[in-house]
């Protein structure tokens, strides 16, 4: 922390989200949090711990297990000018509320000719936990990012967790904030300035490098940075990591600038790559950087199976650091001649 920097503090990703909620709840009466176990239980993953005592049951509203019902209630409340933040315990459960998110929230602005808006925020973690198995270890990020009318962000660091959640709450459109089960406990410096807002639609070069670019979001960025450090040591390669932060809009300008520099790129995601986020990245990068690429755009994600329970199978199926490192090496091995 340099002398000129704004006061900041080291905290977990979870605490950074809580800080953002507390600041926005305090700033704007229209903001309220709604979801299963967000109050009395302090949140299934403790993001909202303590907020019930501070803001009361009207603003920290426990719901029945009825995702379709209370996501839709968020949509309706937002249409009347409220600023609901709906917590979905994990993204897997958003599948029972898809109709409200895709057929309703995402349609309102355009379908009604701009006559009414829907400033709704939905927060939910994606990805694998610790052997949570097939029904509880998914990432549907690309489905939402591919839906016109929605905005989708996925912070990878505590600072961005605070900044992007605040940006989402202040945005006048429906925004999905994708968190991650494993990232909650990661730590980092977080600005205490209550105007610390990370703009939507801006990627971040999380690590500078010259030989290859890794493009990722959310927890995959944490993995990417670890692999970059490891390969710098083991292979002496210099990897640049572009953390997308936003999936819709997508900041391809920043990605393309990096790829133009490194000529090689690996896209990493927690979810299944086929028809996933990394598919879109490959599609845009090969078009934007066709003349710059020395090798095909590569990608790594979760093995294309419903995630198995057994620890060894789960580890093998996830985009673990060994798999990411192997993909980096393979991408670097391809002689430019081949291109």
């Amino acid at each position: 922390m340099t002398a000129t920097a704004i006061a900041s503090e080291t905290m977990t990703y979870r605490e950074a989200l809580r800080l953002a909620l507390r600041e926005e709840l305090g700033r704007d009466e229209r903001v309220f949090l709604m979801g299963e176990e967000v109050g009395v239980f302090d949140g299934a993953y403790k993001v909202s711990a303590g907020l019930l005592d501070e803001f009361g049951p009207d603003r920290i509203r426990d719901t029945p297990i009825s995702e379709e019902g209370f996501v839709g209630a968020g949509v309706g409340a937002a249409m009347l000018g409220e600023r609901p933040v709906v917590e979905i315990m994990t993204i897997n459960f958003l599948l029972v509320a898809m109709d409200q998110v895709i057929n309703h929230a995402a349609k309102i602005g355009a379908m009604f000719g701009g006559e009414v808006r829907c400033p709704l925020v939905i927060r939910t973690p994606n990805g694998a936990g610790n052997q949570l198995t097939a029904q509880h270890s998914q990432s549907f990020d690309g489905w939402f990012a591919g839906t016109p009318g929605l905005k989708v962000v996925a912070p990878a660091t505590p600072a961005d967790a605070k900044g992007l959640l605040k940006a989402a709450i202040r945005d006048d459109d429906p925004v999905l904030v994708i968190e991650n089960l494993r990232v909650y406990t990661t730590k980092g410096e977080v600005p205490l300035d209550d105007e610390h807002v990370t703009p939507i639609g801006r990627a971040n070069v999380a690590r500078e490098g010259a030989d290859l670019t890794i493009v990722s979001h959310g927890y995959a960025t944490v993995r990417a940075l670890a692999v970059a450090d490891r390969l710098a040591e083991e292979d002496g390669v210099s990897i640049e990591v572009v953390d997308l932060r936003s999936l819709r809009p997508l900041d391809l300008e920043t990605v393309a600038r990096s790829v133009t520099k490194t000529s090689r790129v690996l896209c990493v995601e927690e979810g299944w790559p086929s028809y996933g986020v990394t598919a879109e990245l490959c599609a845009r990068i090969q078009r934007a950087c066709f003349d710059d690429l020395d090798a095909p755009v590569e990608r790594v994600g979760m093995a294309e199976v419903p995630l198995p329970y057994a620890k060894n199978l789960e580890h093998a199926a996830l985009p673990n650091e060994d798999r990411v490192a192997a993909a980096v090496r393979a991408t670097l091995d391809l002689a430019p001649a081949a291109a």
Binding site: A73, G81, R287
Partner: protein, 357 residues
């Protein structure tokens, strides 16, 4: 039949009843014309008519105060007109023109007018219920003493969204009246073939919520019952279910002849009890003359003809505003860096077309 009897002596003055007749006739004439225009291919999409249901539509809306909110399914022409949206704006919407109430973006199923508290016109069966529940929650948070009327059909009561919404509304005591317009069929499926409890209002008990059934073709009964339930919603935050028994004369949509699943006799029998005929008779009893009423019918014809002329004259929405309204002002800035590598033609079609830039 378990319907509550019409109010002993009507709450309506002759003038009010006359005004209701005007509304009901306007709706009937408007939709008859809409069907004609649809068949002339000047209206597209689905076009769901409510001919036969006018007493329910006009009566329910009559019971609402200006501050109350309205949400409906896709069969919403009559509701929009009853709530005071001009026939011009509705017809222009059906024609897909800029001066339509949704600027040509929504069409028949997605009418709205937020100034009049009409929050749409939705097309997914029962999808509007959670939204209505949320509007009611917002009314409470904002300290308003208004209520929400949420229209749905008899087919919608079998969707999970019905269950989740009614439970939330009852649990949180939200001011919303769920109006089940029971016109006997969901497309070709009779109520008894879809709902294990065909007396739909009884389902309210699963949420410890009052549920009533009314003859939806008796405008006095509709107004009386709706008023009572809305008052309880406004004053005690008591949500309720109101089932209105009525009948749809035309097919499910203009594309459906409506004869595969019901008999011509059944339709004829219902038409013989046409709510328009009923109210017209009441007005004659009340001393109005046939000429008065014929004049009202003529005015409706003229009003609708004018609406068609207005719609024809209204401009098509400009193609370079394809994404108009999709995002809030300022969003263009957020999307500015998305262009590299975009699918062919995407810029012209989307990014340059009203991303609130």
């Amino acid at each position: 039949m378990g319907t509550s009897a019409p109010a002993r002596q009507s709450l309506l003055s002759t003038g009010e009843r006359r005004a209701l007749y005007e509304e009901m006739v306007l709706s009937r004439v408007f939709e008859t014309e809409a069907e004609r225009q649809y068949k002339a291919a000047r209206i597209g999409g689905y076009c769901h008519l409510s001919s036969g249901q006018e007493a329910t539509t006009a009566g329910v809306v009559r019971a609402m105060t200006p501050g109350d909110l309205l949400v409906t399914g896709y069969r919403c022409h009559g509701f929009a007109l009853a709530r005071g949206v001009s026939p011009d704006a509705v017809m222009a919407e059906l024609f897909g023109r800029s001066e339509g109430c949704a600027h040509g973006r929504g069409g028949s199923m997605h009418l709205l007018d937020v100034q009049r508290g009409f929050y749409g016109g939705w097309g997914i069966v029962a999808g509007q219920l959670p939204i209505a529940t949320g509007l009611a929650l917002a009314l409470v948070r904002q300290g308003r003493s208004d209520a929400v009327v949420c229209e749905l059909g008899d087919g919608a009561v079998n969707m999970g969204a019905w269950h989740e919404s009614l439970n939330l509304a009852a649990l949180w005591r939200l001011p919303v009246v769920f109006l089940v317009v029971n016109n006997g069929y969901g497309m070709g499926t009779a109520v008894e073939r879809a709902s294990a409890e065909p007396e739909l209002h009884k389902r309210a008990s699963a949420y410890d919520m009052p549920g009533e059934r009314v003859d939806g073709d008796d405008v006095d009964a509709v107004i009386e019952t709706t008023s009572r339930l809305l008052a309880a919603a406004r004053e005690e935050r008591q949500p309720a279910v109101l089932e209105a028994l009525t009948y749809r004369y035309r097919g499910h949509s203009v594309a459906d002849a409506g004869l595969a699943y019901r008999s011509k006799d059944e339709i004829a029998e219902r038409q013989s009890r046409d709510p328009l005929v009923r109210i017209r008779a009441q007005l004659l009893d009340a001393g109005l003359g046939d000429d008065d009423l014929d004049a009202i019918d003529r005015e409706a014809d003229e009003r609708v003809a004018a609406a068609v002329a207005f719609a024809e004259a209204s401009a098509e929405p400009p193609v370079d505003r394809l994404a108009f309204g999709m995002h809030a002002l300022g969003s263009g800035e957020q999307f500015a860096r998305m262009r590299p590598g975009s699918p062919f033609g995407e810029h012209e079609l989307t990014f340059d077309a009203g991303l609130g830039a």
